[in-house]
């Protein structure tokens, strides 16, 4: 290192650090941060796929896109759908993951196989998983409907993925939305399962044993010994799952294409972009999505992370 002669070791270290981190920073800057900045600009421009070459990067700023996007009733219903989908998907996947982790906590024969089976939905490509669900739920020859009409006494096959409303035990329910939520839970409870199981297995056994000696029943031990130790990982999972589900595109797009009352905001953005070629409006809508997410995260971190401490 002759070029670095005359510098202190500390200076050399700082320089080497910057050199080594620079490829990471450059790619993040070029492929993530600059495009994001551009997306913000596009949201304020009248940019369409046909005139984009003449739009230019600067100038021609307008608030028209936001006015247009916010005035459309479809946007607000998409936002509500996104929220219902996200809250239900997050909550149920964590609860299911918790149940799975508790059931698999102790050793038993075949546990490795059961664990492998549980991880399958999470590992499998989303396209393959969504396609199998589509076929299983198909009203004509799907196994769910064949078994349902034959053994469960359903009068008619249920079009799980294309029916917006249906009646269940006399209550009107959003059929397709519940189905995509079920898919979300099925696919992502293994994620919660892995985190919670790791935490369970890292817990010291003596606390549980002490409670056992004191005569605590299984439910008391769970409520007062195990659960308090799990809150932190559950809080972390809630944030992660909430963010990922809120931003989710693939699952809903592949299952329903956003039809039958399942249009979440990201699917709506995609449709605006590709079907209508309206870049400005889709960018404005995506930004509103990101802004809502930031508001939720801020509120969450304020209240829950603060209360925990």
């Amino acid at each position: 290192m002759t070029a670095t002669r005359g510098r202190t070791l500390r200076e050399q270290e700082a320089r080497a650090g910057l050199v080594l981190i620079s490829p990471t920073l450059v790619i993040t800057l070029v492929v993530v941060l600059l495009p994001m900045a551009w997306a913000v600009m596009l949201a304020f421009q009248d940019a369409r796929l046909i005139n984009i070459r003449y739009t230019g990067i600067f100038g021609g700023y307008t608030l028209e896109n936001f006015g247009y996007v916010l005035a459309e009733p479809g946007f607000w219903s998409a936002l509500v759908t996104t929220l219902v989908y996200t809250v239900a998907g997050t909550f149920l996947s964590i609860v299911t993951g918790l149940a799975a982790a508790l059931a698999l906590r102790g050793r038993f024969r075949g546990r490795t196989l059961v664990r492998a089976s549980i991880l399958l939905p999470y590992v499998a490509p989303v396209v393959a998983a969504a396609f199998v669900w589509e076929i299983m739920l198909n009203p004509q020859y799907g196994v769910a409907n064949v078994l349902g009409t034959r053994f469960l006494g359903w009068d008619d096959p249920i079009a799980f993925l294309s029916q917006a409303q249906g009646e269940f035990l006399g209550v009107r329910v959003p059929v397709a939305l519940l189905t995509v939520i079920a898919f979300e839970v099925w696919r992502y409870f293994p994620f919660a399962f892995l985190f919670i199981l790791a935490r369970l297995q890292a817990m010291p056994a003596y606390l549980d044993e002490a409670a056992l000696v004191d005569g605590a029943t299984p439910s008391q031990r769970f409520r007062h010994v195990t659960l308090p130790q799990l809150w932190r990982v559950i809080a972390l999972l809630s944030v992660l799952r909430f963010v990922f589900t809120f931003n989710k595109f693939d699952d809903v797009y592949l299952l329903t294409g956003g039809g039958a009352g399942t249009e979440v905001v990201s699917v709506r953005v995609f449709n605006l972009l590709t079907a209508r070629g309206d870049i400005g409006a889709s960018a404005a809508q995506a930004l509103v999505l990101a802004a809502v997410l930031v508001v939720f995260l801020t509120v969450y971190l304020r209240f829950f992370a603060g209360a925990e401490r």
């Binding site: 290192m1 270290e13 700082a14 080497a16 650090g17 080594l20 981190i21 490829p23 990471t24 790619i27 993040t28 492929v31 994001m36 551009w38 997306a39 940019a47 796929l49 984009i52 149940a99 059961v114 492998a116 991880l119 399958l120 590992v123 499998a124 490509p125 989303v126 396209v127 393959a128 396609f131 199998v132 669900w133 589509e134 076929i135 299983m136 004509q140 020859y141 196994v143 078994l147 293994p190 892995l194 790791a198 005569g215 029943t217 299984p218 963010v243 809120f246 931003n247 595109f249 693939d250 953005v269 995609f270 972009l273 590709t274 870049i279 889709s282 960018a283 995506a286 999505l289 990101a290």
Partner: protein, 286 residues
């Protein structure tokens, strides 16, 4: 004492009910996928409720893999595309992230602590926001349909997490070993190459697996960038595009699903211990 006994009995039974339900819910769709992929389409239409095939055919696999000009669906080309993209993404991401992770783990430089916030932002930001300008840019540059552009996007999506995972591991490598190498005359890069990396093989394997899975399974960007050129489709994209039509029998598409799913499941379980430990390493710290 009786409440304790009742609870033990109830939870003892409940535990097995939960396990059985989970196994059925998770394994059945994949069993169904494999079962349909080897069934005859006529037989499926006549008896859709059958849960096992009465005759097994492998014609579906032949049709899905045969090239388009040979009368099949050309999945071999899709597999090649997916494999090229995934392997390129793994190698290039590691080439970029290893020095970066080393710098964050070992070297004191300006901005070292702030880097995390950048990564966190990239990790949590909606992909759809990023998709819009990239779609526009690639359209303008005529890069749509090129695999290289897609690899670039995958690198940018995986680099932050890779740096994070590798940094955690590099910090566990004793600094004394590296100092010994430096005293023996190794430069900084030589130390990384000859000391740090060989000691970090488990972490490198785990991150490679993670990047490979992301690249192989990814759908949104593949759809945006490649959809117009069939010869550049990935397996995921190919399956989703062909599943939309009605002319291809379901059993053939199921064979395509198996072809898409099998490699990733095999690779995952081959390196599973490494991956889950890396993924949940943060959870144990609380």
């Amino acid at each position: 004492m009786s409440r304790d006994r009742v609870e033990r009995a109830v939870f003892g039974v409940l535990r097995w009910v939960v396990i059985a339900a989970l196994v059925v819910a998770t394994a059945f769709p994949f069993y169904y996928m494999i079962m349909l992929s080897v069934r005859d389409i006529q037989e499926l239409i006549l008896d859709p409720a059958a849960l096992w095939p009465s005759t097994i055919t492998l014609d579906t696999y032949r049709e899905v893999l045969t090239s388009e000009s040979g009368g099949g669906q050309g999945f071999l080309v899709f597999i090649r595309n997916s494999a090229v993209i995934a392997v390129a993404a793994v190698l290039l991401t590691l080439a970029i992230a290893v020095p970066g992770a080393y710098a964050v783990a070992r070297l004191r430089f300006f901005g070292r602590r702030q880097v995390h916030f950048l990564f966190l932002a990239v990790y949590l930001f909606p992909a759809i926001v990023l998709a819009i300008p990239l779609f526009v840019l690639f359209t303008m540059l005529g890069l749509r349909g090129s695999l290289a552009g897609l690899v670039l996007v995958y690198i940018s999506q995986t680099v932050p997490v890779t740096v994070y995972m590798l940094r955690n591991y590099f910090e566990t490598v004793p600094a004394g070993v590296e100092e010994a190498a430096a005293i023996d005359g190794c430069g900084r890069m030589e130390t990384i190459w000859r000391v740090t990396l060989p000691l970090s093989k488990p972490a490198l394997m785990a991150t490679s697996l993670y990047i490979f899975m992301i690249a192989w399974n990814e759908f949104l960007f593949a759809l945006l960038f490649l959809v117009e050129r069939r010869e550049s489709w990935t397996v995921s994209l190919g399956l989703s595009q062909l599943a939309g039509g009605i002319e291809i029998p379901t059993t053939v598409l199921m064979a395509g699903s198996v072809v898409l799913t099998l490699p990733i499941v095999v690779i995952f379980f081959a390196g599973e211990r490494l991956l889950t430990e890396g993924l949940t390493a943060g959870a144990e710290k609380g």
